[in-house]
């Protein structure tokens, strides 16, 4: 196992380089001049565009630009945005908030989703199952801008339980409501996934064996059934963490959280390659680590799975 983990960590290096290159070239491939829109409807003087183009090496061929960027990165410099802000400052400000938010969302979706899934699977078809199905459909169909808005207005403006928006250095408590909104869609999915997996395993022979052996039902469910049903669920939760970090654009907007979702979104729109590449590369590292964790969990959940 130790060697497996080491090998996976070593794989980070080529993936890191690959990702930075892909992201960098993608931003580069967005049509249009990134500086043309900076001066409003009046348009920019050619001298301004030319100098900015030189400053960000955009006049050089793509591979040269990329190597220059990578060299800068290895000396610990993430570069500067078009308005002269250090990208490292932005990362420092945005990452902790986003990490907190995504973790809260993840906890919500995992706890509520798995609980609802187990409940429906054990109760079988009937009222509870239909109720969870209805809730699931509701969460799928109601866009985040609506659920976020409703929670904000009801709990923030009318009941005054929470602040309508989140400050610049939010506490865990302030992020509860946004985290719930952010995790809601995945919650629906986890509930259904758990339910299906439990159904599959419910009639498996080993469950029958375990029950026949005289194990307590509680032990059968929690040790045998749940453990075997969780593999696909854990997989999804692992992949979702990164998605929650980078894709929280709407939730961040509704609650005015200054996280990386909005940061990347704005940077893409203004074609700020340096910001996009820096922030997204770190995001990919998170994905890689999460997936590594998930792969290790497989082995823990199912002893038949071995890595060597």
């Amino acid at each position: 196992m130790g060697r497996y983990i080491l090998r996976r960590l070593l794989q980070l290096i080529p993936v890191f380089i690959g990702t930075t290159f892909i992201i960098y070239s993608l931003v580069w491939a967005i049509p249009g001049n990134p500086f043309a829109g900076m001066c409003g409807p009046r348009g920019c003087p050619p001298a301004f565009i030319e100098q900015m183009t030189q400053e960000y090496n955009l006049d050089k061929p793509l591979p040269v630009q990329y190597v220059l960027y990578l060299g800068q990165l290895f000396s610990g410099n993430f570069g500067q945005t078009f308005n002269g802000i250090e990208v490292s400052t932005l990362i420092q400000n945005a990452y902790p908030v986003t990490l907190k938010l995504a973790t809260i969302a993840l906890v919500f979706e995992a706890v509520i989703g798995i609980a609802a899934g187990i409940l429906t699977a054990l109760r079988g078809k009937g009222f509870v199952d239909n109720l969870v199905l209805a809730a699931t459909l509701f969460l799928i169909a109601v866009p985040v801008f609506v659920s976020g808005f409703v929670i904000q207005v009801v709990f923030g403006v009318q009941l005054e339980w929470i602040q309508p928006s989140v400050g610049s250095d939010p506490t865990i408590g302030q992020l509860i409501a946004p985290g719930l909104v952010l995790g809601s869609l995945s919650m629906a999915y986890i509930a259904r996934l758990t339910r299906t997996a439990m159904f599959e395993n419910k009639r498996a022979d080993y469950i029958r064996t375990a029950t026949a052996k005289g194990l307590k039902p509680r032990r059968v469910v929690s040790v045998h059934m749940l453990r075997n049903s969780l593999i696909p669920v854990i997989t999804f939760i692992g992949t979702d963490f990164g998605a929650l970090m980078g894709g929280a654009i709407v939730t961040e907007g509704v609650f005015n959280i200054h996280g990386i979702g909005g940061l990347v979104f704005d940077a893409i729109k203004t074609q700020e390659g340096v910001t996009v590449t820096g922030v997204v590369t770190l995001l990919v590292v998170v994905y890689l680590l999460m997936n590594l964790l998930v792969d290790i969990l497989y082995a823990a959940l199912d002893p038949r799975i071995r890595y060597d």
Partner: protein, 337 residues
């Protein structure tokens, strides 16, 4: 915790797969509703009878869940093909004086923010939404499952490569990928490209960017499945990799991916709207539910019916697919009979 019994059953029945499948095709179309058709799951012990698919079909015909689901889907398909029959009006005709008026005898669903009839728009919007939703889901699941299956089954270097490749895609912000892919497609076209072309582009973009999730799910299921005794037994019997993957591993891995597919369907309808909102997807005069929902964003309080009706249709569509998926899966699983 032994799986020996289950494994043996499967090996014994290995010969029955092909036959059962052919028969099912002759019997009916039920299997085609499923993303990823061949599912000879848990075949019966004795080969004769109708085979798995035949059994499933008989079973399905009696299930109200299946009947309701298919009727809704057929109706939606009919609406998509002949919207004019269900709503003869012009979905883009606007009468500003009627803006935001609620449901009435003249307009059962009311009017939107610039005075267009919501009923007509919902009916005419079905086509784009259903086509994009269903095809994008199929594409995503197809790519993801295939790659995941290979990665999970072969493991080792193949897995490392495919899994890391998928991780890069996962890390790619959807908006960035979409902007680049769609603008590269659209480059060189003066003005706005044609509707069918944009629809295909949107489907392709979603497929290219969203497959890693179903890949990870399929991969995890494949990793678990390949260690099962029946796979080892099939190997011992000299079955080829292709045969093992498609006949033994795939059928046992489909369930979680199918659940993902039904949820993703709803999500992709919304994603189409996000793209058009960003100026990358379908544009006026085309109508879609996603666009209607996203247009309603500013009017949730003052004009809730702008959101209610298109979102309602979306719920019904997803519900129909969920029902159908559940019914088919149950019918195919002999343990649940």
């Amino acid at each position: 915790m032994t799986n020996a019994g289950e494994g043996q059953q499967r090996i014994l029945a290995a010969g029955a797969y092909a036959e059962g499948e052919i028969e099912a095709r002759q019997q009916g179309e039920s299997g085609d509703e499923l993303p990823g058709t061949p599912e000879p799951h848990q075949p019966p012990k004795q080969e004769k009878q109708r085979g798995l698919w035949g059994d499933a079909w008989l079973e399905l015909r009696r299930k109200p869940l299946f009947i309701i689901g298919s009727v809704i889907i057929l109706l939606l398909v009919a609406i998509s093909i002949f919207p004019g029959f269900f709503a003869p009006g012009d979905p883009n005709a606007q009468n500003l004086t009627l803006a935001r008026q609620g449901p009435s005898a003249d307009a059962p669903f009311g009017y939107d923010s610039i005075g267009r009839d919501i009923y007509t728009r919902v009916i005419h919007g079905a086509r784009a939404s259903i086509v994009v939703g269903v095809l994008a889901t199929l594409l995503t699941v197809a790519i993801g499952s295939l790659v995941g299956l290979f990665a999970g089954y072969f493991g080792g270097k193949t897995d490392s490569f495919l899994a890391r490749f998928a991780e890069i895609f996962l890390g790619l912000p959807f908006v960035l990928g979409a902007i680049v892919i769609l603008s590269v497609f659209n480059a060189g076209i003066q003005g706005a490209p044609g509707t069918i072309r944009i629809m295909l582009q949107v489907i392709l973009t979603i497929g290219v960017l969203a497959w890693p999730i179903s890949m990870r799910i399929m991969r995890s299921a494949a990793i678990a499945a390949k260690q099962q005794d029946y796979v080892n037994a099939a190997k011992a019997l000299g079955a080829s990799h292709t045969r093992i993957i498609f006949k033994h591993v795939l059928p046992n891995c489909l369930a979680p991916v199918m659940v993902y597919a039904t949820i993703a369907l709803g999500q992709f309808v919304g994603l189409e709207a996000t793209l058009s909102y960003l100026g990358l997807g379908l544009q006026y005069p085309v109508v879609s539910w996603g666009m209607m929902i996203s247009d309603s964003q500013q009017y949730i309080i003052s004009t809730p019916h702008m959101l209610l009706f298109p979102a309602g249709f979306l719920v019904i569509t997803v519900l129909a697919f969920v029902m159908l998926g559940d019914a088919v899966r149950d019918a195919l699983d002999p343990k649940q009979r």
